[in-house]
Symmetry: C2
Subunit: 272 residues, 2 copies
Amino acid sequence: MCQLLGLNSNLPTDICFSFTGFRARGGRTDKHADGWGIAFFEGRGVRIFNDPLPSCTSRLAEMVAAHPFRATNIVAHIRKATVGAVRLENTHPFSRELWGRHWVFAHNGTLPDFAPQLDGRFRPVGTTDSERAFCWLMQGLHQHFGDSAPDTARLFAWLRGAAIELTRHGVINFLLSDGDVLLAHSSTRLSHVLRRAPFAQVHLVDADLGIDLGRSLDPAARSVVLATVPLTRNEPWVAMPAGSLWCFRGGEVLATAPTLAGRIPEVVDDCA
Amino acid sequence: MCQLLGLNSNLPTDICFSFTGFRARGGRTDKHADGWGIAFFEGRGVRIFNDPLPSCTSRLAEMVAAHPFRATNIVAHIRKATVGAVRLENTHPFSRELWGRHWVFAHNGTLPDFAPQLDGRFRPVGTTDSERAFCWLMQGLHQHFGDSAPDTARLFAWLRGAAIELTRHGVINFLLSDGDVLLAHSSTRLSHVLRRAPFAQVHLVDADLGIDLGRSLDPAARSVVLATVPLTRNEPWVAMPAGSLWCFRGGEVLATAPTLAGRIPEVVDDCA
């Protein structure tokens, strides 16, 4: 199993504070020591840092924690290997281009019997079940929508069906972003917290470190931080129900809908 | 215009010394200050660092120059923007997945009138002529070879035809790698140097820095370093003829062939 960290914001925002707590779980305060990765979107561009070393000792992770890369969408992952060796090509997030946008994907959970037919358009480079699921998602998006990107509502509706299908094969908490929206699926465990002014003084669970968010964030910033397990002690983290898909844009919840197989699909809030 | 730096080696080798000289050209000793990027292959995995800031002042470039990422194939680029704004998505190297491998591409030159028909399988994310040419190359590889990767000889022969076609549209010095081979096209200017034991003491052109390669390289290492303009003073750099395609694997020249439009195509040495 692994852990996820995500950020979606209306203004480019750094994640140094949250990442400092998160990376401690990669071998220091928790066991997810089989590599890590983080993707920062700057407009249409994306930077991805990844490393098969434990995030708690990786020099690259130390640099990322110290460097304020500002982004409106961030997807990060620390790995506890289940399927696929500890190698660079098996670290998340994975990325592919579709419709002239970069898409990044990170997964927590396992899909032990998921062996879909892939048509070759998106093919795994490594050997994880996660990259296979990502390629299947990208293939499905292309097969369903063809060469033109859908609007967010249609994207969300399709992805919800795909998440229901994936849930039949195992545990599939995931974060997916094209730099515009951040899509998050809680299969078993995922939480989020909304941050907007007036900002609180917060303290990490995994390190003896506190911060006055009011000093580091723009008063106009609205952001949502997602994590497998809440990162701070004194913030109103919301546990996202098992079996729910969420769509965030500009630091707001745009849509959420259930994805548990067997439940009657019902759109709680539609995407714009 | 821009500058290229590449490495191909039989053993994972770091490029800290060469990159130190190269990054100085991104705003200090030369004018290529509109961003930079570098891709390191570790087996099938790849790490790409890129930044729209000048490489001579970029903190990320400083970290890359100081950190010995070891790789058998490296592709780096410093940018002087001609087509496309100074933005993250317009920095080289670009990457796409084909046949379950990551491919990375960096370009020096301009292709002012190159507006190929793209079928949508590989679509530019940014606005450079370079990424457009890369997508056209990837599309052509897929259209020609289908869903199965060709052997290196067939890959090289096809790429040579593509380089001849691209040369009709402008200047296209490029480096292309899938982590197995490094393919290099000299359209107007590209040099390489072969390094094997006994290693020399070398000195950078762009910085007051020398190194005894015998102390830093494994005696069994065989590598080739490529650069738009030679990086060291006292090594036997070879100017690659204008209009020549090269294929390197394991630090050796595997093949080279002319690509000047109008010249009678003649394979000088075939790929294995």
